[in-house]
């Protein structure tokens, strides 16, 4: 499965590139990631979030990069869900913003993990990556992922309707958090 998405962020390419190049930042906006740990100059360890498939982890390696312009990576070893990704940072015509173009490719296996991954992406797989990039934009432009009463859990809020009603959370709900 190949997913592409793009957004424009009102920050210069070096800043957007630097944020992405610190791969440990990816889980702040990519819904399917629980954690990314840098293990070397070009290597990292990725942990998926539960709905993506429990205990799905893999190692990855940056296979090509040009500072401020592009990063390309791929999973290594026998990953449960072999995947590759690439991102380009292109100066926008306004002279201040960056166009971010992303391509992710997943080889979805059979079995339980394959089912979980397919379920995660649902009928509109592109929606997930679109929403990831929306959150990247929020983080870089405003500092945080924006929360509402109807969608209070940041990246854990799925763009689905119905949601919880637009009224404040109770203390109990706040305590339980996104997993309630």
């Amino acid at each position: 499965m190949e997913l592409t998405a793009t957004t424009t962020i009102r920050k210069p390419p070096p800043e957007v590139y630097a944020f992405w190049r610190d791969l440990e930042n990816l889980p702040t906006f990519m819904a399917h990631l629980e954690e990314v740990r840098t293990t070397g100059d070009r290597t990292s360890h990725w942990v998926a979030d539960a709905p993506f498939g429990k205990n799905v982890e893999w190692d990855a390696e940056i296979i090509d990069e040009r500072p401020t312009e592009k990063i390309r990576w791929q999973s290594t070893g026998d990953a449960d869900v072999p995947n590759t990704g690439a991102v380009w940072f292109v100066p926008a015509p306004d002279g201040v913003s960056t166009e971010v173009h992303v391509v992710l490719v997943y080889e979805i296996p059979g079995g339980a993990i394959g089912k979980a991954v397919a379920k995660y992406f649902g009928e509109e797989p592109h929606q997930q990556l679109d929403d990831d990039l929306r959150r990247l934009k929020q983080v870089l432009e405003t500092g945080e992922v924006v929360r509402s009463d109807g969608a209070p859990w940041g990246k854990r809020a799925r763009g689905e309707f119905p949601q919880r009603p637009a009224q404040p959370l109770s203390d109990a709900e706040l305590e339980k958090g996104a997993d309630a």
Partner: protein, 391 residues
Amino acid sequence: MKANTWAGRNKVEVRDVPDPKILNDRDAIVRITSTAICGSDLHLVDGYVPTMQDGDILGHEFMGEVIEVGRGVDPGRLRVGDRVVVPFPISCGACGACSAELYSCCENSNPNAGIAEKMFGHPVAGIFGYSHLTGGFAGGQAQYARVPFADVGPLKIESDLTDEQVLFLSDILPTGYMGAEMCDIQSSDVVAVWGAGPVGQFAMDSARVLGAAKVIAIDKEPYRLRMAERAGHTPVNFEEVDVRSRLLELTGGRGPDKCIDAVGLEATHGSAHIAAYDRVKQAVRSETERPHALRQAILSCRSGGVVSVIGVYGGLLDKFPAGAWMNRSLTLRTGQCHVQRYMKPLLERIERGEIDPTRIITHTLALDEAERGFELFKNKQDDCEKVVLKP
């Protein structure tokens, strides 16, 4: 706290709900001192805007005192104790749209941007109390509200103006003003305004302040037309006269130079068969709007004129007079109001006495009486023009 909520089509209910809490670092919590019911709330309550849910707190026109700020709020911009009017669009102040002062199109403030994008092609800003399409944010017909990006939108009131004088800076005064501003008014212009509701009244006052030669008010409610007339505008009752002929009479056959639609998707029509056509289509959802005022404005406007649309539309409409629009070189302009753009300059106009926003208030009720407030406003009972609620 107490809050007025949507309880299904045509039903609102004041309920006990949890107090709001800080969810993002740049949030503030405001103790609301005054709030109001808007014509847009009627579209929501009547069920014409999709993605409302039982329990959603309504209200997007509110002001009050800041009682808590998140740790990301710039203290140079906002502190506990400040008295603020809160603009209805939630805007980050940093995205491309906000940088272009298109605050109601903010690219970051709507966590349900994906839903809005499906409906509108591109997403729109978050709005308080205005369906999940615009973010699912709790509204301001309540005792307290959480205000995101609190160091961007809220306007501090440092003078001793009353709540009533400044409350409408949250929405309808800037909205009416933007409706007139989009008309590029010249001193020779006759400006016709469809709808003598609160938004229409402020569009009329703004057209006059911006120098129009004559301002015409079109509605069917005699008391609303009288209110416009008392403010110096020329009334036209669309149930008593043929609007197009009357407008020709009032403009020496030219038609109004500039036309403002301050009615939106629930317009009523003098002519029964056209009204029936749109009602049926609206009922079966093959058309979501009843665009009588918009059609009439386009057909009435003089060639080369501007039709400025501030009445709200949510979906699809039929029989759009594209021929009149195209062949007669009309300009169509519109938008949810970019409130933040207008708050300061309009506050100054209020301070200088050029605009008196209090002239439209007919009812002041306790928040507990919100249900009655909606009845009065919707059904035009007791000469109701604008309801202010006191939490």
